[in-house]
Structure formats: structure tokens, C-alpha cells
């Protein structure tokens, strides 16, 4: 392990000198830079106002580029960008599954792209602490027009971009369908059959689940239904009822406290346990770590409530194929003794784009201009394709896909390049934008409803971001598996461990690992960064 890790770093460090030389020579003579990309030579030969500078940008490789289109580095959209944008862009694909590791490796080797982006703010904060990216307040001020104005108009994006008081990244707003995240679905036809109403409190939820279990809602005369099934979000969904996310920090009387150590967390565990004890969830959910078992129960019509995402096209489509009579409804979050919390939602910021610390100023200028262009006009084509080829405008504003297959083949992958965007869906547009066949329309209609339901209740988030101190992440990396295991013992252990006893153990572990000291550090960090941590939902 040591050998391979240091091998990685050292071999790459060896290349880094080369990499830097290459970069500096390119920036010194832009002509050489342009000629080094033979793929773009046809455009380069066209007369243009001055030679464009080259910048490199990371792109997630999701394996979506069909072979006929080329690859992530070279395809119709990269060419289109080079023709239309104020820069020549070299895209550096990184495998989505290992994006952070791959990016870190590229940075260690000095061959990282000029612009590095990730969704995960924690990662960007780590890069800032590691000295791999640079603050850019001054450059945005100096070179930007569109982006500068956009950021001034959207102050709610500021916390995401600010690390240690400086702007280390730029971003744009998410569209609402990517802000909504967790969600619940319920079998409306089961509710109707048993003459029940959709639950609104956790007590009602348990009552409905019990009836789903005992009263044979699928009417096959067998005791084979599982009332509630999970996907990876389920635990977060159940904790959200009690205003405690496992990984979030909460302000309790002005004091920063970790979600897992709160009194409320005990109630969340007790609720989870009661579902397990009463057989309302799959008893083997523990080993269903990829949630395929749960998905199967759901898509074969054996499950009544799905703790998952607001948008689940494939699961719903599969269920409707297997059980055509199934009727689905999005289920709104339910109230606990602490009130009604929304289910997990993302913050307003979309991908965070950071600037490599090796970037010289002239490149930064080009990059900023490129980002201006992207935010101004560039993103639209990469999201929807060419007008009247891939989409047509309905009501002059809603881009409706003309041919789903053509879109998937020629445009879908280009989303990766639209790193800034001003797109904002409206729920009622979803059916307009979807394919027009009956099933797709049914799914789209319920999806539109689900989006509204998912965003109906505000999700409690006291500070925009968790403390990005190394001591904090170190503690949590050690604490998380220990705490998780205690929680599982509480849930599955029957009488052997009460939620109270479990909570005590969790707190003891937290203390043993130095949690009190870390709380102090977190509090100091909070006092210092308060102004950047306010969550403003618009």
C-alpha cells in the first residue's frame, strides 16, 4: 500500500517538472499551443480575431459518449465550443466513479487541468487547504462581466464559493429538480383499496405500514408484502423526520453540535427500531448494501412505500410494466414531535469550479472569459442541443425533446461541458418536456407533482457547510463506522439494546475520540466564518 501510494506520488512528481515546462512554453507562445491540437486545426485555419489561448478543464467521464461521436476529449461539442467560445479548451476526462482520486493524482503530478471542478464542496475545501487551488476574488473583479454580475445577483451562492474567507471557486445556481433530492413514494392503489389516507405524521405512517403488512394490499391472498423499502437515502429520510442528519452540524442555542450526538437522534433511532421490530421494513436490509433486493420488492409490486428519491423514473416504469394496475403518489414528509421537516435537499450551488494554483494570470483571464461565455450563452446548446434538430420550443420557452434516442446519442453527454448554467426547470414543464407516449406522460405528471411535494417543506440546515477543518474530518472518519454499528445494534438488536443505551454509547465514543475538543474547534470556526455560513433559500 505504502509502496503503491508513494509510487503514485513520486512517479507523478517526476513528471510534474515536464508538465510545468510544457505549460509554460505553451502559454509563452500561444501559436505553439494552438498547433498542438491537430483535431481543432480546421477551425484554427479560419481567420479569427487573434489566436485563442488554450485552457484545460476537467470533465466527468460517465461513459456516455457513443463511439460514433468520438470521445470526451474530441467530439462535435468540443469542436463547437472551440469554434464559438473565446478559448480553445482541452477537456481532461476523469472517471466519475473515482473523480476525486483521479483529480488528486493529476494535481500531485502537476498535470492537473487549469480548471478543476467537483460537486463536493468538501473536496474543493481540501484542495484549498492543500494549496492546490488559488483564490480568485481579484480576477473575477478584474476580468469578468456576466459571471460577476450573476454572482452579485445571487448572494446565496457565496457560502459555497468561500473558503477561509476567500473566493476559491465559482458556481451557478442549480435548477430546482437538482435541488430536490430525497423523496418518498407510496402505492396510492393500496391506500385506496384499504381505504386509508396518506400518512402525515410518523404515527400515521406506522399505522399505514402495519395495514400494508397485514391486510394483503396486493390481494393475492398471501402474506408477502413488505410495507417499506429503502434505497441509499432511506436512513437520511428517517433521520430527517427528526431534524437530524447524521453528517450535519446543528446550532443548538448558538452552540455547534454534531447531528449524531443530539437528543433528537435518539428518537430517530427509536423510530427506525420500531419499524424493524414490527417487521415493517425488510429484515435483511443490512446486507442489501446495493439495495437491489429492495428495488426488486418495489418493482415487482411487493412494497408499499419507498424511502428514496423524488425522481425515480426507471423504478416506476419497471413497476408499471410488471404491475400495470399500480398507482403511485409522491408522499410528503411526515411530522414528528419536533414538527415537519423537509426531506434532504441540495444547496443552491451547482458544480464548484476552482482554478489550479499553477495558473498564470493570462490563462486565468482566458478562463474567466470562457466562463462568462458559458454562463451567458454556451450552456443552452449543450443542455438541449440544436434547435429544431434536437428540440423545439413549446410556448416559446420550454424546450421539448424531438427524439429521445437522437438526444441521448448526440447531446446527453454534452451536459458535462455545461459547467455553468442558468437553466431552471418549472415543475409544470416536466410533462411538456417528456416524451409524449401515455406511460411517459403518466410518469411525468406524477414526477411534476413529486417535485412540488419534495420542495414543499423546507429542509433544516443551520449552517451552509460543515466545518472544513482537518481535525473534524479526521474525527468523523473514525467516528462514523463506530457510530453506525451502534445504531445498527439498536435497530436490529431487539431488547438487547435500547435507543437510550445506544445513544449513551454513541456519546461515549464521541467523547473517547476527542469529540469535545473538536466541538470547541468547530465552534471557533463557526464564530470566525459566521457571515459565510448563512443559508439563504433565495
Amino acid at each position: 500500500m505504502a509502496a503503491s501510494l508513494s509510487l503514485m506520488l513520486l512517479v507523478l512528481a517526476a513528471c510534474s517538472s515536464n508538465g510545468n515546462n510544457g505549460v509554460s512554453s505553451e502559454s509563452a507562445s500561444p501559436v505553439a499551443g494552438a498547433s498542438s491540437t491537430p483535431s481543432s486545426s480546421p477551425e484554427a485555419s479560419e481567420p479569427e480575431a487573434g489566436p485563442k489561448k488554450e485552457i484545460s478543464i476537467s470533465a466527468f467521464d460517465r461513459g456516455l459518449v457513443p463511439t460514433e461521436e468520438g470521445n470526451y476529449e474530441d467530439n462535435r461539442w468540443t469542436k463547437w465550443i472551440n469554434e464559438n467560445s473565446p478559448a480553445t479548451v482541452k477537456w481532461i476526462p476523469v472517471d466519475r466513479g473515482q473523480a476525486q482520486q483521479k483529480l488528486s493524482t493529476l494535481i500531485a503530478s502537476g498535470s492537473a487541468p487549469d480548471l478543476i471542478w467537483e460537486y463536493d464542496r468538501n473536496y474543493i475545501a481540501q484542495l484549498a487547504n492543500q494549496g492546490a487551488i488559488q483564490p480568485i476574488d481579484a480576477y473575477i473583479e478584474k476580468y469578468s462581466t456576466t459571471l460577476k454580475k450573476y454572482l452579485q445577483d445571487h448572494p446565496e451562492l457565496k457560502p459555497a464559493m468561500t473558503i477561509n474567507g476567500k473566493m476559491y471557486a465559482v458556481t451557478s445556481k442549480r435548477s430546482i429538480e437538482t435541488i430536490a433530492n430525497n423523496g418518498m413514494w407510496i402505492r396510492q392503489d393500496w391506500l385506496d383499496k384499504l381505504q386509508l389516507k396518506a400518512p402525515t405524521t410518523i404515527e400515521e405512517l406506522i399505522e399505514v405500514a402495519k395495514k400494508f403488512k397485514d391486510e394483503d394490499p396486493d390481494g393475492n391472498g398471501e402474506d408477502d408484502t413488505v410495507p417499506i423499502v429503502f434505497n441509499g437515502n432511506a436512513v437520511q429520510v428517517m433521520r430527517a423526520f427528526f431534524f437530524t442528519n447524521e453528517y450535519q452540524w446543528y446550532l443548538e442555542d448558538g452552540q455547534l453540535k454534531y447531528g449524531r450526538t443530539l437528543d433528537r437522534y435518539k428518537d430517530a433511532l427509536a423510530f427506525h427500531k420500531s419499524l424493524f421490530d414490527q417487521d415493517l421494513i425488510d429484515k435483511e436490509y443490512i446486507t442489501d448494501s446495493n439495495f437491489q433486493r429492495a428495488r426488486q420488492l418495489w418493482t415487482t409490486g411487493k412494497a408499499g412505500i419507498y424511502f428514496a428519491n423524488w425522481s425515480m423514473d426507471n423504478e416506476i416504469r419497471d413497476l408499471k410494466t410488471n404491475v400495470p394496475t399500480a398507482k403511485l403518489a409522491p408522499l410528503e414528509s411526515v411530522a414528528s414531535q419536533y414538527g415537519k421537516n423537509g426531506l434532504y435537499q441540495e444547496l443552491a450551488s451547482n458544480v464548484l469550479i476552482a482554478f489550479n494554483s499553477d495558473m498564470p494570470e493570462d490563462k486565468i483571464e482566458t478562463a474567466v472569459k470562457f466562463l462568462d461565455w458559458m454562463l451567458e450563452t454556451g450552456w443552452y446548446s449543450m443542455k438541449f442541443g440544436e434547435k429544431d434538430v434536437h428540440y423545439k420550443l413549446v410556448n416559446d420557452e420550454v424546450p421539448q425533446r424531438l427524439d429521445a434516442d437522437k438526444y441521448r446519442a448526440e447531446v446527453a453527454y454534452a451536459n458535462e461541458y455545461a459547467i455553468l448554467s442558468q437553466w431552471d426547470t418549472k415543475a409544470e414543464w416536466i410533462p411538456l418536456m417528456a416524451a409524449q407516449d401515455e406511460l411517459s406522460q403518466e410518469i411525468a405528471l406524477s414526477k411534476a407533482e413529486a417535485l412540488t411535494v419534495a420542495l414543499k417543506n423546507e429542509y433544516r440546515r443551520d449552517i451552509a457547510f460543515s466545518p472544513d477543518l482537518p481535525e473534524v474530518s479526521q474525527l468523523i472518519a473514525t467516528f462514523a463506522p463506530i457510530s453506525t454499528q451502534i445504531e445498527v445494534k439498536v435497530v436490529t438488536g431487539g431488547k438487547s439494546m435500547t435507543p437510550e443505551a445506544g445513544m449513551e454509547q454513541i456519546r461515549n465514543e464521541w467523547k473517547r475520540l476527542g469529540g469535545e475538543n473538536v466541538e470547541k474547534l468547530a465552534q471557533e470556526w463557526y464564530e470566525k466564518n459566521k457571515e459565510f455560513l448563512t443559508v439563504s433559500s433565495e
Binding site: 500500500m1 505504502a2 509502496a3 501510494l5 508513494s6 509510487l7 503514485m8 506520488l9 513520486l10 512517479v11 512528481a13 517526476a14 510534474s16 476525486q100 482520486q101 488528486s104 494535481i107 500531485a108 502537476g110 481540501q126 484542495l127 487547504n129 492543500q130 494549496g131 492546490a132 429484515k283 435483511e284 443490512i286 446486507t287 448494501s289 446495493n290 437491489q292 494554483s357 482537518p470 474530518s473 479526521q474 472518519a477 473514525t478 463506522p481 463506530i482 453506525t484 454499528q485 445504531e487 445498527v488 445494534k489 436490529t492 473517547r512 475520540l513
Partner: protein, 327 residues
Amino acid sequence: MKERRPGSGAAIARPSSARTNINTPRASFRSRLKRDRHLYLMLVPVIVFYLLFKYAPMVGEIIAFKDYRLGDGVFGSKWVGLKHFESLFGSLDFWRVLRNTLVLNVYGLVFGFPIPIILALLLNEVRIEWYKRTVQNLLYLPHFISWVVLGGIFIAILSPSTGIVNAILERVFGIEPIYFMASSAWWPVAYTLSGIWREAGWGTILYLAAMASIDPQLYEAAKIDGANKLRQIWHITLPGIRSTVAILLVLRMGQMMDVGLEQTLILQNQSVLDVADVISTYVYRVGLQNMNYSYSTALGLFQSAVGLILVIGVNRLTRSFGERGLW
């Protein structure tokens, strides 16, 4: 090839010609170099490969004694002495993951190591060729299936509600279903068994090769002396593969501190983290996900050092038993 032939007298059977026509070692080296220059030339890329990719990177181990930052690089980061080792040995988690790693490896060694030998012995005695080949292929198959798939199958087989193992236990022995994968006591056993399932068949290859090189005359002689099958295995086959076993054992000892990341991540679940959190998953979580490169390098260095000590120790031991060992 001649020298490496395993078996009783192989070690002594050095070709004597090379010895006799050269007198001093220096002259021998030069003239050999000259004579076999083409062969040595062919070796150069391999040596370069090892120097470049196996030895040069070891310089990077210095980050175990530094506070490595991506922005500062391997050489630019500041020295911190033994800080990372101190926090490593001072951390309770380290001892937990070390214990788990060792437990899984000891299980693997005690149960996993002899099984390929037993399988090879059995296969070696099979006389019907097509049957032997079919069985061999079936045994090799799991080696080529990824852990994602095997893990899924394994978890399904052991499921308390739908798994075949629990169904048999219940029907035949009347035992209540056991949730093997979620029990801290059973999980290491299940882990070891899954490892055996995947690799034992593949592991027989080397032993079968060693058995094939045993002189058939020995068996004939034994038969004439009236030795039955078991006697033949005991007195001919096993001694014949003794040195192969010794070498594989020494090599296995070098991995006592490693546990495969993939297998662990796929088989582990929330309720067995106390026994399933091993060095590799710990390094992944603390080192890579939190960018504590120096800390995880320190851990890796410790891991390698222990591995090296074990290899040397066991190598000595095998040599004291009269085997050749690794060197």
C-alpha cells in the same frame, strides 16, 4: 529450468560446465557478460522497469516523515519527524484495524492455505481425464468472476430468509436461521470462505505443475514395494511438492498485513464494522478520502516493514527445515 525443478535432489543438480572453465569470479562475470551479452541485453528493460517503477518510487516514502501537501509536492513539504507514527500508534482505531487485518489473515492462512494443496492432491489422483478437466475448470471459474458478482451470490446464499444454507440448516438440523453476514462472529468465517471459494481452485495450478514434474518411476517403485495410494501420496507426492509449498508459504507471509479492499468493501455491512474495518479500508477512508497522504504512507510503511520481517523470519524457518526458501 533444470535448476528450479522442485523435488528431492533438484537443488544439487547445477550444471558444472560453467564452473570449470572460469577461474576467478571477476573474470567469470566479464567473460560471461561477453559471452551472453544478448541475453543480458534482453534483461536490461526488466532491470530498468524495476528500478524505475519499484525502487525509485520508494524515495516517496519520505512523505511518511513530512506533512505532505498537494500544493508543495513530495520534496517541498515540511519535515515533521515521527509525528505520523506517533499518532498512528497512539490511535485506538489503528489497533482495531490491525487486529481485524491479522484475524482475517490468520483465518485465511490456517483454512485457506491448505485447501489448494488438498484439492491438488485429489485432482492429481483423478484418472478419468474428462472428469478431471471439468472439475478443474469449474474450480478455476470463480477466479475470473469479479467480487461484485461473487459477493452478491455469497450474500444471497447466506441470507437467513431465502438462502440455501439456512434452508438446509433448518430442514436437516432444525437450527434457527442465522444471519451470517450480519454477525460479528460469523462474518470473518464467511469472509474467509468466500476467499477460498474464489481462489482455492486457481491456487491448485502451481501444485499440480509441481506434481506433474515428479518422476513417475518413483510411483512405480513404490507400487512394486506394495505402497497403497495414501502411502504414495505421503511418501512421494507430498515430499515432491514440499519446496513449492515452502515458497508459497513464504510469499503468503508477506501478505499477512494486507486485506483486499474490494472483497472487504463488497462483503462488509454496517453491522460488522467492528471486525470488517481493516487496514486497507481505513487507509482509503482516512488517507485518501481525507487527503492525509502522510498518515496513510506512515501506516503503509509500517505495514510493509512488518511484512518484510515476516517474510525474512519464515524464510529462515523454512531454510532451517532444509528447504531452499526464497533466497
